[in-house]
Amino acid sequence: MSRKTYSLDELTKVEGHAKLHVELDGKTVKRAELSVFEPSRYFEALVIGKSYQEVPSISQRICGICSVVHTVTSIKAIENAMGVKISKQTADLRRLLLCSSTIHSHTAHLFFFAAPDYLGFDDVIELARKKREYLDLAIELQRLSSGIVKTIGGRSLHPVTPCVGGFHSVPKKADISNMIRDFERIKDLSVKAAKMFMSFRPPKLENRTEYLGLAGKGEYPLYDGEISALASDGFRPEDYMKNIEEEVIFRSSAKYTKFRGKPYMVGALSRLNNNHEYMSSTAKGLLKRSGLHVPCYSPFMNNFAQSLELVHFSDVALDLLRRYEENGMKEERIDIKPRKGEGFAACEAPRGILIHHYRFDSNGKAAFANIITPTCQNVRNMEYDMQKLIPAIVNKPDSKVKRILEMLIRAYDPCFSCSTHFLDLDIRKLKKH
C-alpha cells in the first residue's frame, strides 16, 4: 500500500492555534479531525472564588477580538443570578456596544483574513502593496467601529465601563451625534464591502445542517432572545444543558458540542437563515440583489452573511442612537446587593451563540462557571463539511486541496483561543492496495 502524506504546519489567518488531520482511502474520507492546540487556560476554574465584580473582567480575557460580547454576556448572566433589573437605556447601550463590536470583529475577519483568499493574494500585507484602496476601506471601517467601542466601552478592547447593573459612565450628548455621523459613514462603507463580497465566487459546497441563532420579537437579535433552530424546536438559554451536549475530546483542548446529538452551525449564516426577514431594508435589498437563496446551506456564504450584517447592524445602531439624539443619556446609579443564585445568559457573538452560566454564594463569590463559545459549537460542523467537501476536490493538486480546506475553516471565522485554543494540516491519503 502506498501512503501519501502532505501537511501544512499552521492554519494561518485565524485567531488561535489548531491542527487538521485528514485520512483518505481512495475517495472515502476515513478521518477528518480538527484539533485545537491552543494551551488550555481554564477560565471556568479561574473565576471560582472570585467576587462577582471581578468575574466579567476575567471572563472578557477569554478572547481579544470578541471581548465585548464576553463582557456583556458575563454581566447578563450575573444579573440573572442576582435578580438585578436593568434600565432600558442600559439594554440599548449594550445592544449598541454589540453592534459596533460585531462590525469591528467582522471587518477584521473579512478584510484581513478572508478576502486575500478570494482576491488571489497570499495575505493582507501583499494586498496592501498591490491594492491599497482595498486596505484603505478595511482600515477606515476598523478605525470607525473600534472608535465607537472605545466611546461606549472606555477602551476598544477589553471594555471597562460595562458593569453589573449598568455602565460606570454613559456617552455624552456630543458623543451620540459623533456616533451617528460615524455609523452613517460605516453604513456607506459596509454597502461597498457587501457588494465586494457579493462578487466573490467561493468554492461550491451544499451541506445542510442545523442552524442555531438567537431569535425573538420580530428582530435580528444580538443581545437577547431565545435560541432558535431552523429545522426543529428552539430552547431557552437556561435549558442549554438539556439541548447542547459538551464532549471532552482527547486530541483537543476545546470541548466540542452537539445539538441533540448532531453537528450544527452558529454565526452570521445561522443568524441570516433564522432571521433574514428582520434585516434592515438596505441589507434585505442587498440580499435580494445577490440572488442568494435563504436558507442557504453553503458554509462559505458565512462571509457574505457577515458583510450583510455590517450593513444591518449599522442600521440597527443608527436607529438606537437616534432615539437618544435629542435628550441624551442619563448617568444611572448602580446599587447591587449580592445574593446566592444561579444565572444564565446567551448573546450572539460575532461568531455565533455564546452562553455564560454561573452560580454564586451568598457573599457574591463565584462557585461554578460554564462557558460555551461559538467555535466549540462549530468545530463538529467543520468536520462534517470536510467529510462532504474532500471527495469532490480530492483530484485537485495538493496545494489546491489545502487552500480550499483552509478557506472552509476560515469561512467560519474560527476563534481557537476562544474555544480555548492555529492549524497544523496533516492530510494522509491512504491509496487503495
Binding site: 494551551p39 476554574a45 481579544g64 482600515i139 473600534s146 470541548k255
Partner: protein
C-alpha cells in the same frame, strides 16, 4: 545601544503563545500607520496575518502571551536565540496575566473538563523572563498601540526605548482626570505602571491594575485606601493578585 542595523529593512516577527490574542488586535488598530509599518519593516512572521511564516533570524521579535507549557518554553527559547531584540508584548508576556491565575487553583482540570484525562503535566504560567532575557517589557492588557509605535520608531532610529516607571496617577494628572478616590471609587492607579494614558479613569471606571505592579509602590497605603472605600480584605487581595503575580519584570532569570 543600537538594536537594529540600519542598512536594510529590519526583519520583524510577531509571535503568540498563551493569551487571548487581544494584543495582536491592538496592532491592527494602528490604522493608517499599519501601511507605514508594512513599508518600513519586513514582517517575516505573523501567524494571524500571513500565509507563509518562516522562523528565520529576526532583528525584532514581538512575543505575545505567557509560557504555560513545555512547548511554549521551547518556542520562546528558540525565538530568543534567533532574535537580536525581544519585546515581551502585553501583560501575559510580562507577568503571566490573567492565565497565571491558574497557578493558584487546584484541581482546575477537573473543574473545566469534568474528569481527569491524561495530558502533559501542567506547569505554572510564567512570564517570558523566567525563561529568556527580555529587552523591553510592553505592559498592558491590552497593550497601548501607541507605545508599540513609539518603541518601533526608537528602534528604527537606533535608540534604546525606555520603559515607563511612574504610576497611572501621572497619566490622570496629565490628562486632567478627576481622581476617582475623590468620588469614593476605589482605584488601582496609584500602584499600577502608567503610560496607558488612563483610558479607564477617563471613562469613570477604576484602574484595574492591568499594566502590572509599580516596583516602588506603597502597597500598605493602597490596601488601607481600598479598605476605607468598602472593599473586603478578600476582594482587595483578589485585585492585587489579578494581572501580575510578580512585582517587577526583568529581574527573574537572565538568558
Amino acid at each position: 545601544m543600537v538594536a537594529v542595523e540600519k542598512k536594510s529593512k529590519p526583519r520583524v516577527g510577531f509571535f503568540g503563545m498563551t493569551s487571548c490574542k487581544g494584543c495582536y488586535f491592538q496592532f491592527l488598530l494602528l490604522g493608517k500607520k499599519l501601511i507605514d509599518i508594512f513599508d518600513s519593516l519586513e514582517i517575516e512572521h505573523f501567524w494571524m496575518l500571513k500565509e507563509d511564516n518562516e522562523l528565520g533570524e529576526f532583528d525584532i521579535a514581538i512575543m505575545d502571551g505567557a509560557v504555560s507549557n513545555k512547548d511554549n518554553a521551547e518556542f520562546v527559547r528558540k525565538v530568543r536565540e534567533k532574535s537580536r531584540y525581544l519585546i515581551a508584548y502585553g501583560t501575559c508576556a510580562c507577568f503571566g496575566g490573567i492565565p497565571a491565575l491558574r497557578n493558584d487553583v487546584s484541581g482546575f482540570h477537573e473543574k473545566v473538563y469534568g474528569k481527569p484525562i491524561k495530558l502533559k503535566p501542567l506547569q505554572n504560567v510564567d512570564p517570558l523572563d523566567m525563561h529568556v532575557k527580555v529587552d523591553y517589557h510592553m505592559v498592558g492588557c491590552p497593550v497601548n498601540e501607541q507605545e508599540l509605535l513609539n518603541v518601533l520608531r526608537d528602534l528604527l532610529l537606533g535608540k534604546r526605548p525606555g520603559e515607563p516607571d511612574y504610576p497611572v496617577c501621572v497619566d490622570c494628572k496629565k490628562a486632567g482626570i478627576r481622581c476617582l478616590f475623590k468620588d469614593g471609587i476605589p482605584c488601582m492607579g496609584p500602584v499600577t505602571i502608567g503610560g496607558c494614558g488612563a483610558p479607564c479613569p477617563a471613562s469613570r471606571s477604576p484602574c484595574d491594575g492591568c499594566r502590572g505592579k509599580l516596583p516602588d509602590a506603597n502597597w500598605g497605603s493602597e490596601y488601607d485606601l481600598m479598605l476605607e472605600h468598602g472593599l473586603t480584605k478578600d476582594h482587595i487581595i483578589q485585585k492585587f493578585a489579578k494581572y501580575a503575580r510578580i512585582a517587577k519584570p526583568g529581574r527573574v532569570k537572565g538568558k
